[in-house]
């Protein structure tokens, strides 16, 4: 024992005195940033890094495609609030990250992507597996950089993590040429990051808060629209307090889901294109709208000129560029959502809006969740509703993009912050499975469900292998309607049912599950739903359930793209809703 301790001490001292391989310095810098998990895929330009990675207390998850690494790191970040890290080689490894990086950019997710690069002496020579990944990712990263010498490793990695998680979070890419990984040097001690061009405003201006409070005080029909910023800043508690004190109902953007408890009497749930009718009507009738940590995305506003026609706008966001971008804003408040709400609470006395709240409630119509349609076919909404009830609303739910995503957003009522993980801004099909894996690594005690469609799942189902390797407690629910359902719905409603290239076949998912050594079942009848969900929950580790559902079911309500609340199609108005 004594000898061993002594040896270790000598090694530690050597670390401080002898120059180290760049690859080791990279790992040391990652450990220093608190990284203990990396999703990655090796390749020629990162071999030196992989050579030393096992020496460090970092768990490496070998994905099957770099896109999976980026989405997994993203899911990890969204589930934990920590920075997710993915690692890829140069060239195709790096370009395969692109969709995942763009997804994180659109949804303000803190991500650090590390890519290997060809040695500097061949950069610009069209070397094997060379690509200008920093050039490619300029528009889809918060920042990116090339580390050109071994001395830059420490400061660059520190800066990357600082930028990824501070202010409005986002992805940062670090490109590291192979020769830098192989050069020897020292890790500079951490320095306070000083970036003259980067000073995010965290605490808002008190005067703006007072103006916001005054406007809210004058309002007869106020409404809060809460977005991802609530979750990023951890402002749920403050938002609940504020909503309760001022008695203001809260609508949620797609990424705002789980930021305000769905079961709260003031919660209106999802707003926007497939938002609840009463929530969208509340926007339409509101006289003051307080947007917090959201960006009035077109899926929220429809046609901006007809959005909230009676409302004066208070907009609280950490990114000044979002304020006034879409809507004319009466009171701009730049700052962190939580800090803003704390200040707003100080300025806010209790208010009452009983009549307004009652009126909104009177508009409420539940989303139909009948087990089957007229022909006895399983309804997708029923599956989501049962999943919600049987998991007691406590699972972490990730989704792909499309109809199943909207049904889940409507029907899986989230009360726990960060339990909802979905690609909002970029709308990335294939996000559900790898992000579920990442989320599970971040919260391994949790039950994680990836609710995906038959289109999206086929984009990234290779990650089943990773999920099985790592025995992630991830349950995959495939809502199989045999179509790219959301596109089909648009084709039905706006393109004369011309189902051009939207019918899509699937493999036998039960056999596929077997091939991946993943327990799998198929459900075709309503009576089998509960039993299958309970079966998947009865053991730890991955499971797959394919739900074969009504092929031409639509998502309602729906405000057509670029439309206004007046053009909303509700299930009761829709031709296919007559049963």
């Amino acid at each position: 024992m004594a000898v061993e301790t002594q040896t270790r001490r000598v090694t530690t001292e050597q670390h401080q005195t002898e120059p180290q391989l760049g690859a080791r310095l990279i790992c040391q810098a990652l450990v220093r940033e608190g990284v203990d998990l990396v999703f990655g895929y090796p390749g020629g330009a990162v071999i030196p890094l992989y050579d030393v990675l096992p020496e460090f207390p970092i768990h490496h998850v070998l994905v099957r495609h770099e896109q999976g690494a980026a989405h997994a790191a993203d899911g990890y970040a969204r589930a934990t609030g920590k920075v997710g890290v993915c690692l890829a080689t140069s060239g195709p490894g790096a370009t395969n990250l692109v969709t995942g990086i763009a997804t994180a950019m659109m949804d303000s997710v803190p991500l650090v992507a590390i890519t290997g690069q060809v040695p500097q002496h061949v950069i610009g020579m069209d070397a094997f597996q060379e690509t200008d990944i920093t050039g490619i990712t300029i528009p889809i990263t918060k920042y990116n950089m090339v580390i050109r010498s071994v001395d830059e490793i420490g400061p660059a990695i520190q800066k990357a993590f600082y930028l990824a998680r501070s202010g409005r979070p986002g992805p940062v890419l670090i490109d590291i040429p192979k020769d830098v990984q192989l050069a020897k040097g020292y890790l500079a001690p951490p320095q306070p990051v000083n970036l003259p061009g980067y000073r995010p405003t965290i605490v808002p201006h008190r005067r703006q808060i007072r103006r916001a409070a005054e406007l809210i005080r004058q309002a007869k029909r106020p409404l809060v629209l809460a977005g991802h910023g609530i979750l990023i800043s951890g402002a749920t508690e403050e938002l609940v307090k504020f909503a309760e004190r001022a008695q203001i109902p809260v609508g949620l953007t797609l990424l705002g889901i789980s930021g305000f408890p769905a079961s709260h009497p003031l919660c209106l749930g999802l707003v926007g294109m497939h938002g609840f009718a009463h929530a969208n009507r509340a926007i339409h009738e509101a006289d003051v709208i307080v947007g917090i940590g959201m960006r009035f995305d077109d899926r929220v506003t429809g046609r901006p000129s007809e959005f909230a026609p009676n409302a004066r706008i208070v907009h609280i966001d950490i990114d000044p560029a979002e304020i006034g971008k879409v809507l004319k804003t009466e009171v701009p408040v730049v700052g962190d959502a939580r800090e803003a709400l704390k200040l707003l609470l100080e300025e806010m006395e209790p208010l009452r809006h009983d009549e307004w709240i009652e009126t909104i409630r009177s508009w409420y119509r539940p989303i139909r969740t009948a087990p089957s349609g007229p022909d006895g076919v399983l309804q997708p909404q029923y599956v989501i509703d049962r999943l919600h009830k049987l998991t007691e609303g406590k699972a972490i739910v990730t989704t792909d993009v499309g109809q199943h995503q909207m049904w889940t957003a409507q029907l899986y009522k989230c009360d726990i912050p960060k339990q909802w993980i979905s690609s909002g801004g970029l709308g990335t099909m294939g996000f559900g499975v790898p992000s579920a894996m990442g989320a599970w690594f971040g919260r391994p005690e949790a039950e994680v469900w990836a609710v995906v469609g038959d289109g999206g799942v086929q984009m990234t189902l290779y990650e089943f292998a990773t999920i099985v390797d790592e025995q992630c407690n991830v349950k995959v629910a495939i809502i199989n309607n045999g179509y790219l359902g959301m596109v089909r719905q648009w084709q039905q409603l706006f393109h004369n049912r011309n189902y051009s290239e939207t019918p899509i076949s699937s493999p036998d998912y039960v056999l596929l599950g077997q091939a991946y050594r993943m327990p799998a079942r198929r459900v075709t009848r309503p009576a089998e739903v509960d039993e299958a969900i309970q079966w998947a929950r009865s053991f730890r580790g991955p499971a797959l359930i394919e739900f074969v559902v009504n092929q031409e079911e639509n998502v309602y309500p729906m405000i057509p793209s670029g439309g206004s609340f007046r053009e909303m199609i509700d299930v009761h108005d829709a031709q296919d809703g007559e049963w």
Binding site: T134, G135, I138, P139, G197, P320, A321, G324, K325
Partner: protein
């Protein structure tokens, strides 16, 4: 829609122009003119940008530019009492018959200079506000412009107030 002149101070680092130009392309900002050079402060470059747009568009442009990490300070100097200067080199056809007309026009009216002459052409150097350059080009065009190079506008407000970071170092 009117023309705005923005002075953008940026850190002089590799890739900065790439980021800025990428931003214009990505978000569909139309830039009429862009000129870059060093400033009084080492490590700091100055971009003079002329862009057309309504106030909201320009506000977005400024806010998005601020998100580029290396952008330190942006000043909209449009409404300042402004000195705007641009330099142009114009290679124009010049025969024996037209040569003296061109020279008179250039030197008397525009206070521009002939900086090179060949048997059938001359190079004119002209400095001034963009309108002056436009006007000279219009007058020269009938003679046949073979080549035209313009620097883009640089601008500075008159008076003692400066667009700069911090206080100047005064030695004397």
């Amino acid at each position: 829609m009117r023309s705005h002149t923005l002075v953008v101070l940026v850190e002089d680092k590799p890739g900065v122009m790439n980021r800025i130009v990428s931003l214009f392309r990505q978000r569909g900002f139309n830039i009429d003119s862009i000129a870059v050079g060093h400033t009084e402060t080492p490590g700091l470059s100055r971009i003079t940008l002329v862009a057309k747009g309504d106030d909201r568009k320009i506000e977005q442009l400024v806010k998005q530019l601020y998100k580029v990490l290396e952008v330190i300070k942006i000043t909209d100097v449009t409404d300042e009492n402004l000195i705007q200067r641009e330099l142009a080199l114009i290679k124009v056809n010049a025969t024996e018959r037209t040569r003296s007309d061109i020279m008179r026009l250039v030197s008397d009216v525009y206070r521009a200079r002939i900086v090179d002459a060949a048997p059938d052409a001359m190079v004119i150097e002209v400095t001034g506000p963009p309108e002056k350059i436009e006007s000279l080009i219009t007058l020269i065009r009938p003679y046949g412009i073979k080549e035209l190079a313009r620097t883009g506008v640089v601008a500075m407000a008159r008076g003692s107030r400066a667009v700069a970071i911090g206080q100047p170092e005064v030695v004397a």
